[in-house]
């Protein structure tokens, strides 16, 4: 029986709270309407993970609430990762807030597991204190060492160092429900519930069952849980090392300085990597992101792709692209803020290397096969257009709030996550926008309003011929963004129909008239 790789895990509790800079007050971070993290003082007031917003606020009304921002989490974790990386270059970020390293080399060099753990904890605490302002309520980290990343993560939560070979005994007392904490997927929670109802209450109970029986009854997920419960690595150690040609590289000439452009390159690279792996029936579970900068600097970081990514599982090209984007954001934006790193300049090379792969188990297509295949075909064609004309050219629209027809739509470049949905009223109704022109909405919304002249019920658009206005309504006065001098607009809207039967939406500001939209 092969035991897991001796692993050290650094765990920063409540990382989303730390990243949001809220750890000194009762605060909670929400994703999808549920609390995903809360500060220690909020926990003392009874706020817990998984609560709905209303429940949390009922338990402690002055609670400070923030939305979850995974990109900010990753960015804020960058200094911590850099501090841990000073001990060994081979670190893995399991997710923002948790990183792991194999201790075999470092622990010999630094004088044993205990000494290594103490030094890592001191280094990380120093970083956290300098960023979080220190003090008694400042963020802290915990370090644990055990066999295999999962046991090490549990050990880190208790701040323990588990002796080699004792991980199974250490895990035996944990309830099975702790299994679902390793990734926030629904399936695991259901499985843990099933374990519980079958009388398997602790990981020890699970570990005592014969492996073939667990596989037969609970399938591959159950087998993974069983391996974890026995203190073995989640992934078999015989994981194949991929042949080197699977790595994908993009050389950027001229160097890229804008994050958006770099992220677009990263998306293409992720797609290529995904296809390359797919061609040999593999999927990556750990990817090394390497970047080279104008001044010859070379940065690299490992990202683990587990099942908990947004955008439908961590193994998709989109999820990988998202992580590379976070990483680039961390390097390009946050590096400027860290005193020890100088501004890296333009990006000249980006490389994605699959470090660990496993056979792709495939995924289920829709019953009639159509849906996903069509969506992928569309995505390919649009990526082609984006590649030729630039990423911002292909857009999809998302409904947004606003009074003018142009404000009611927000354009999002294709392939990017749409911004968070606008709040909707009860039963999904859109919130009221007083002064909004009632439907129908004009079918032609001019990109930039067309100048017009209105004299004596005669309308001339863009210096064109005069035509009589036969019907009109208005003014609908709006005083928008009065709190911001730069975008403040005070204007009146009119609907007019000309003798030709053309209906326009005019906007009047002082004695300046513009055609905002046409009811074509």
């Amino acid at each position: 029986m092969v035991s897991g790789v001796r692993t050290l895990v650094v765990w920063c509790p409540d990382w989303p709270i730390v990243a949001a800079g809220l750890c000194d007050r009762p605060a909670a971070v929400l994703a999808g309407g549920r609390v995903v993290a809360c500060s220690a003082s909020a926990r003392a007031e009874g706020v817990a993970r998984g609560l709905r917003r209303r429940q949390a606020e009922a338990r402690y009304p002055p609670l400070v609430v923030a939305d979850h921002d995974p990109a900010a989490d990753a960015r804020a974790f960058e200094p911590v990762a850099a501090a841990v990386e000073a001990f060994t270059p081979a670190i893995e970020i399991v997710r923002p807030g948790i990183c792991a390293l194999a201790t075999r080399g470092p622990s010999r060099y630094f004088g044993g597991d205990e000494a290594l753990a103490a030094q890592v904890a001191a280094a990380v605490d120093e970083v956290l204190a300098s960023s979080g302002g220190g003090g008694g309520t400042g963020p802290v980290c915990r370090v644990g060492i055990a066999d295999g990343p999962y046991a090490a993560e549990r050990a880190a939560r208790r701040g323990l160092i588990v002796p080699p070979g004792a991980s199974a005994a250490f895990l035996a007392d944990f309830p099975v429900s702790t299994l679902s904490f390793r990734s926030a997927t629904e399936g695991n929670a259901e499985q843990d519930d099933l374990f519980f109802r079958l009388g398997i209450r602790t990981l020890g109970d699970l570990a005592r069952l014969p492996a073939p029986a667990v596989l037969a009854r609970f399938g591959p997920d159950g087998a993974v849980a069983h391996r974890l419960a026995r203190g073995l690595d989640e992934r078999p150690l015989a994981a194949r090392t991929p042949p080197p040609d699977l790595a994908v590289t993009a050389e950027l000439d001229p160097p890229v300085e804008r994050l958006e452009t770099a992220a677009f390159v990263a998306k293409n690279l992720a797609d290529r990597l995904h296809h390359g792996l797919g061609a040999v029936g593999l999927t990556a579970t750990c990817v090394l992101v390497e970047a080279e900068w104008e001044h010859g600097e070379r940065l690299a970081r490992r990202w683990r792709l587990d099942g908990s990514g947004s955008g439908g599982g961590g193994h998709t090209a989109a999820a990988l692209a998202e992580r590379v984007r976070w990483q680039l954001d961390g390097w390009m934006t946050a590096a400027a803020a860290i005193a020890t790193t100088r501004l890296p300049g333009g990006l000249t090379l980006l490389r994605l290397e699959p470090e660990e792969v496993r056979p792709d188990d495939g995924r289920q297509l829709g019953f009639w096969g159509g849906d996903r295949a069509i969506a992928e075909r569309v995505a390919r064609a649009l990526a082609r257009v984006q590649g030729m004309l630039g990423p911002d050219v292909v857009v999809t629209a998302a409904p947004a709030g606003g009074r003018s027809p142009a404000d009611q739509i927000r354009l999002v470049p294709w392939g990017e996550m749409p911004p968070g949905a606008r709040p909707t009223g009860p039963k999904g109704a859109t919130p009221p926008w007083p002064g909004r022109i009632p439907s129908p909405t004009p079918a032609v919304v001019h990109r930039s309003p067309v100048a017009a002249q209105v004299v004596d019920a005669q309308l001339s658009v863009a210096g064109g011929p005069w035509s009589a206005v036969t019907a009109w309504a208005g003014p609908w006065p709006v005083d928008e963004r009065w709190w911001d001098a730069a975008t403040h607009r005070h204007r009146a809207r009119w609907q007019v129909v000309t003798a030709e039967g053309t209906a326009h939406l005019l906007s009047q500001e002082g004695d300046r008239w513009e055609v905002e939209a046409t009811y074509d």
Partner: protein
């Protein structure tokens, strides 16, 4: 019980395959069926939507997409920078499946209008395209022939609309010949609905001229045929509401 049956049939409708390869006709809204040969958009065809001097062609083009999009197909728009996407959503186009290419390059090489349209024809069921207009605009005849062949081969539908002209004879040509707005008075009310007359012509099965009186949009939303009695009522009520009639062009 009846409610449950209705819900079930609605769910069954949703679970249906979105695009059966053998399906030669893409659906359109019931009000538009009488305008098109076969009562739908035939795959592999080019349809032009225009309105010589009368407005309404953009709304008509969007309404042609509505049923296809609602059924689960992908549509795309290119070359129509001023397209009102809020209006598209209101008409029934599902925005998640409606990518828009906001601007295209010049010329007919890679990145140009014809290139982008060809790339989209490969991927989606209906491409709504506005041929480049203005000086130096228009579609070259060779490009138009190539796109027509591509549309036929891929089984997509190319829908052109806007100021630019399509140089080849299209399968179906829809033209808005008259438009009259309702609901707006002299200083009161607001735009509610529009009655348009649409004339369809074209080649082959569409050569016989078809006409339809449509509400585009109806005061209650959506697109509907103008009922005969409504037409009669309109004349009489027009006497009482002079402004409503004067809007007619």
């Amino acid at each position: 019980m009846a409610v449950a049956a209705a819900t079930l049939s609605e769910l069954a409708g949703r679970a249906q395959p979105v695009a059966i390869a053998g399906d030669r006709l893409l659906p359109v809204l019931p009000a538009l069926e009488s305008l098109l040969p076969g009562g739908g958009l035939r795959r592999g065809s080019v349809v032009t939507v225009g309105g010589s001097s009368v407005t309404g062609s953009t709304s008509l083009a969007l309404s042609l997409l509505a049923a296809v999009s609602a059924q689960g197909s992908w549509c795309a728009a290119v070359g129509l920078p001023a397209l009102g996407l809020a209006a598209a959503a209101e008409m029934g186009v599902v925005l998640e499946r409606f990518p828009v290419v906001a601007s295209v390059g010049r010329g007919s090489g890679p990145g140009g209008w014809a290139w982008v349209v060809a790339a989209l024809i490969d991927a989606v069921d209906v491409v709504l395209a506005g041929p480049p207009s203005g000086p130096g605009g228009g579609v070259r005849t060779a490009d138009a022939r190539r796109l027509t062949a591509r549309v036929r081969e891929r089984g997509a539908v190319l829908l052109t609309c806007g100021d630019g002209a399509w140089p080849e004879p299209a399968e179906v040509c829809l033209t808005v010949t008259s438009a009259a707005w309702e609901g707006l008075g002299r200083g009161h009310g607001h735009l509610r609905g529009r009655r348009v007359e649409v004339v369809a012509g074209g080649r082959g099965a569409a050569a016989r001229e078809r006409r339809a009186q449509l509400w585009l949009p109806h005061p209650d939303g959506g697109v509907r045929q103008v009922e005969d009695e409504e037409a009669g009522k309109e004349v009489s009520s027009g006497e009482r509401r002079p402004h409503a009639r004067r809007v007619v062009s």
